[in-house]
Amino acid sequence: MISSSSKTILEVRNLSASVSGVGILKGINLTVRAGEVHAIMGPNGSGKSTFSKVLAGHPSYTVTGGEVMFQGKNLLELPPEERAHAGVFLAFQYPIEIPGVSNSAFLRLAYNTMQARRGGEDLDPLEFNDYIREKSRIVEMDPSFLDRNVNEGFSGGEKKRNEILQMAVLDPTLAILDETDSGLDIDALRIVASGVNKLMTPNNAVIMVTHYQRLLNYITPDFVHVMRGGQIIKTGGKELALELETRGYDWVHA
């Protein structure tokens, strides 16, 4: 899927960020082109999750240096909702529960908000019902989940499937999956991964933040990056993940 002529979606240059005055990201560089899958791995505390939250615009993190260009826009200038409108999607490690709001109502609200921003048509509840039932097949989700309140009483696996369903509905250009594999049993992992694969096109891209090689058995990365101390210290192909799996992180040095 990759060709050198693919256009650049994301360009991160020397990005630094801190939370409560403590520096977490210390000069990250990363280029993501259309059609690419990037895996970001690294030990606990290396800054992987912070990186994904900073890209999505989490208000608790302060960018202290560098820049992030997303399809020609300065991403760091945009509030999180405008990043979403521009095509950035973050699948959360811990999705929140929203009691009293049905999953389908929430998804329709998000979908219609996005459509309004992108100049598309609104869907009324009936039209949306058809649309979302089709989409929910991507993650093999039982339609009864659409009538339940957002993530309320969902198992870990169901929450993650719901994240990928949201990804399907919002149709992002760049999807960032923050430890989407954590807490999943093997069946749920297969379903979530297959959902992501179905959503991949030559025009979009995925960044997967993960601790484990096992997700990469299902979603094949084009690049594997190792983070440590707030920087990407090594980049390789998918074979790098296998090496990390057997040797750990200690041998990797900048």
Binding site: E81, F92, P99, F106, L170
Partner: protein, 440 residues
């Protein structure tokens, strides 16, 4: 300042000024009324110097001279259509400014159920035996004032083992009038042993738009739930934003009885609700849910007492307040577990959402345990909207305002969802949602 106006400002004579000027049509009622009137004259007006009233300053109402209701406007069913419940079309008592409106009421009731105005039943044994026996007019000034006005009121009696599947709707309508009026709604509900029913006690105002009349509602409800009986009680206060509302409910629980309360407060400039539940025999089950959603300069004060006096009682309470702009919500929840109330299982949670730095919430969950083998937990939180939750919704493309509204809606919905009447639940959800700008 004239002498007349000065006397209005004198709190201690203020309530006496609201005493009735005419007698009731029945002697035993007059005797009760006279006892209560003595207490009205003797009891001090509650002020913020009283511990139980320290946050809700009802001396505000003393600036208004509320007149007794003399005539009620001729309302039609169309006027009250917004408040009618699909599930209770034939089981509704309507009172307008405290006076029974037979033409707006409908009482096609299942066998074993009595729902009527007091005056139709003045010789009824249950009414005579139970009225004013539970709400403490001896030491509560507003209860005394209500009792001094006894005449009109809603009487509900469920005969032994009657399972009333039709919800009963008690609708108290206040209307805009030339001079501010005071009304004193009264309810007596007796669920005889083994009976069950769902009750909606609903305080509303007309017109619903473009008017904010000032009036005073002083309601008292007495509930007797006999052995093995069940009452599901939803109380809804959606008075005018300029109204004063005081409500007192006394609940008496028999052996193995169940009482579910959903108490929802949207309205009034200043409101106070006292819910006092007393266990009189063992093995009772209570679920108490509360929601106050207020803004502007509203003050909503909820005081609850759950008095476990006997063994094997369960109670679970969740009270929520959502306070925007300069509003002020108060929650005071006392749970007593008396010496004999062994194996009580009681939880209480006060959860509060403060949306503005001008708003205020005072919450005081209190647990007093005198028994040694019980399971009790209580807690309170006051918070602003959660950053992580806001970020989650923002990252789905929702702007800050929509995300905020959605989270507030969700917070309220946890209580609204427990209302056992589908059409009312939907209506309340829509009310919250429209206040939030039609989000879902």
């Amino acid at each position: 300042m004239s002498a007349a106006i000065k006397s209005i400002f004198n709190h201690n004579t203020y309530l006496s000024g609201l005493l009735p000027t005419t007698a009731a049509p029945h002697e035993w009622l007059n005797a009760l009324r006279a006892d209560a009137a003595l207490r009205v004259r003797a009891l001090p007006f509650p002020t913020t110097r009283d511990e139980e009233w320290r946050f809700s300053d009802f001396s505000l109402m003393c600036k208004t001279a509320f007149a007794p209701v003399v005539a009620t406007p001729a309302l039609t069913l169309t006027d009250i259509a917004p408040f009618l419940l699909l599930e209770a079309v034939n089981s509704r008592l309507v009172f307008v400014n405290g006076i029974y409106a037979a033409h707006l009421s409908s009482t096609v009731l299942p066998a074993g159920v009595v729902a009527t105005n007091f005056s139709a039943m003045l010789t009824n044994e249950t009414l005579r035996a139970q009225l004013a026996q539970h709400a403490p007019f001896q030491h509560e000034a507003f209860v005394a004032l209500n009792t001094s006005h006894l005449q009109e009121g809603a009487l509900i009696v469920l005969s032994k083992n009657t399972d009333c599947t039709t919800p009963l709707h008690l609708l108290f309508v206040s209307t805009a009038s030339i001079a501010p009026v005071a009304s004193h709604p009264r309810c007596l509900i007796v669920a005889e042993s083994g009976s069950a029913c769902t009750l909606i006690e609903d305080y509303v105002c007309l017109p619903t738009v473009n008017a904010s009349p000032t009036y005073f509602t002083n309601a008292v409800t007495e509930i007797v739930i006999e052995d093995d009986a069940t009452l599901r009680h939803t109380r809804l206060q959606r008075e005018s934003p300029s109204a004063f509302h005081v409500g007192y409910a006394a609940v008496h629980l028999g052996r193995n009885s169940c009482y579910d309360s959903n108490n929802i407060t949207f309205g009034a400039r200043l409101s106070r609700y006292n819910l006092h539940i007393t266990q009189s025999a063992e093995g009772t089950n209570c679920t108490l849910n509360g929601l106050a959603l207020i803004s502007g300069r509203q003050v909503a004060d909820t005081h609850t007492v759950m008095d476990h006096t006997q063994p094997n009682g369960n109670s679970a309470q969740l009270h929520k307040c959502i306070v925007d702009s300069g509003a002020h919500a108060i929650f005071n929840g006392k749970i007593f577990v008396r010496k004999d109330a062994q194996h009580t299982n009681s939880t209480q949670s006060s959860r509060n959402l403060l949306l503005s730095n001008k708003g205020r919430i005072d919450t005081k969950p209190q647990l007093e345990i005198f028994a040694d083998d019980v399971k009790c937990a209580h807690g309170a939180t006051v918070s602003q909207l959660d950053t992580e939750e806001m970020f989650y919704l923002n990252s789905r493309g929702l702007n800050a305002n929509t995300a905020r509204n959605l989270l507030i809606y969700a917070f309220a919905e946890e209580i609204i969802d427990k209302v056992p009447i589908a059409s009312l639940k939907q209506h309340l959800s829509q009310t919250v949602s429209s206040q939030m700008g039609e989000i879902v």
